[in-house]
Amino acid sequence: MNRQTAGGDVQPAGAGEALVSFRDVSLTLSGRRILEDISFELKEREFVCVVGPSGCGKTTLLRLIAGLMFPTSGAVHYRNQIVRQPASDIALIFQDYSKALLPWRTAAGNVALALEAIGSPKAERPARISALLQKVGLAQYAGHYPSQLSGGMQQRLQIARCLAQDPTVLLMDEPFGALDAMTRQVLQDEILRIADSGGTSVFFVTHDLEEAIYLGDRVLALRPNPGRVAEIFDVRLPRPRDQLVTREAGEFLQLRRALFDFIQETGH
């Protein structure tokens, strides 16, 4: 659990305070051990990626932080308080964007839902909504329904809705897994920019090892049956990252090798 204080601009100023912490978290669901003795911390403004073979409890970790599930033993803390219900400044982005958007509301209406939930003043909403849609590049699509948008645009819309919560922590569950390679790269850079400009901590679940290295400050590797933290890799690649330069850096290739070896080792 030793966070490297690397040179360069790896960590923005102010990083270091633990926002979310798992303390010996175990989870048993109907007799099956899902997670065992998970301990780690997500720090302020930190981007942590989670990888591991399927069935290792990646998504479960995220649902525990979101307050949608609760551990059997141990505790998940957010700002030093035990998580007992969803917090308004923790946003969760689902992989299946088409199911997570309200099909009967326009893009603007979907963003409005988050503002209605936090009870933001009605008069301020239109300006907030267009600013948020602008941020994810959907300004011209405010009046479109989700079914009229491409997959990439639907995922952007979900991101905009989550940003409406003004999140301190952004939880992302394989958000780009269903998108084509080009769209994925564009959205990777956008989420880095959004997280950086908003000072947001990100907890990012993915099955794509290169994506994990490209985005993360740290990569949390899980081992399955039951899910445990196997290893934490520090990523000391400079920011801002670049799809070409970063992916050709020696450090990137070394980490990629180490993670691939690790995944091979854990089986499938």
Partner: protein, 256 residues
């Protein structure tokens, strides 16, 4: 191509008219199509059609709103409470198979003849399809949407009004449409069985006063009414939910 569907019915009418003219039918139970049309025109002209139609539609609508509304409301409550669902499963399964017309004597004792009797019976009949289809509509809501509402921190009423009802609305409307057809059937049945008002009653009096052409004219109007109500609701369904009713997963251009 649509005219082909009219060939057989039109042919049957012409044939019936021809038979009536050629053989000069004198009957207490049959009438020539032309006589039926004349009787239908008569009912329309002297306003008696609107009187009986109004009575039947008022009862059907009243029963539909009360019974159908109660069914949808209970469906919503049961959708939110698994405990209540388990508690009420047995009573619902026990009461539901009762033919709605069999409850008529009970309502007659309570309400006597008139609108209240008919509305009560229609309500009982509309309650069940509305409840059962309403429950299916609520349980068919995409679970992901309910999670979204929890993560966003929507309160109880926000969840009901912004997620549950709009998500279930297209199917709730189907429940309403089916309940509406039940309402009309049961209203006419109650009138035929014993309630002295509406189209069903006039149908029976025409029959017992040996005026088959009036009887068939009323039958024609009942058919047209049922067809119109259903067509209007189908049109409304398409207009309201043509797009929003589509399941979010089944949309073209998804994996772009």
């Amino acid at each position: 191509m649509r005219w082909k569907g009219l060939v057989l019915p039109a042919g049957a009418v012409v044939l019936a008219e021809a038979c009536a003219r050629i053989f000069g039918i004198q009957s207490d139970s049959l009438a020539a199509p032309s006589q039926i049309l004349v009787a239908a025109w008569g009912l329309l002209r002297d306003g008696s059609l609107f009187a009986m139609l109004g009575q039947t539609l008022l009862s059907a609508l009243g029963g539909l709103l009360i019974g159908g509304g109660a069914g949808l409301l209970l469906a919503l409550v049961l959708g939110l409470s698994p405990v209540l669902t388990r508690l009420l499963r047995l009573p619902i399964e026990a009461l539901r198979p009762i033919p709605s017309i069999a409850i008529l004597p009970v309502f007659l004792m309570v309400f006597g003849f008139g609108y209240r009797l008919e509305i009560a019976n229609v309500s009982f009949a509309c309650f069940w399809p509305s409840l059962i289809i309403g429950q299916a509509a609520i349980s068919g809501i995409e679970p992901r949407l309910l999670e979204v509402s929890r993560v966003l921190g929507l309160g109880f009423w926000g969840r009901i009004t912004k997620i549950v009802i709009p998500a279930a609305l297209p199917r709730l409307f189907v429940a309403f449409r089916l309940a509406a057809s039940v309402a009309l059937i049961v209203a006419v049945t109650v009138e035929i069985a014993l309630n002295p008002q509406g189209m069903g009653y006039e149908l029976m009096s025409a029959q017992s006063s040996l005026r088959p052409e009036v009887m068939f004219a009323i039958l024609l109007y009942i058919g047209v009414t049922g067809w119109s109500v259903n067509a209007a609701l189908l049109l409304a369904q398409r207009r309201l939910f043509g797009r929003a009713g589509a399941l979010p997963g089944a949309v073209p251009g998804e994996a772009a």
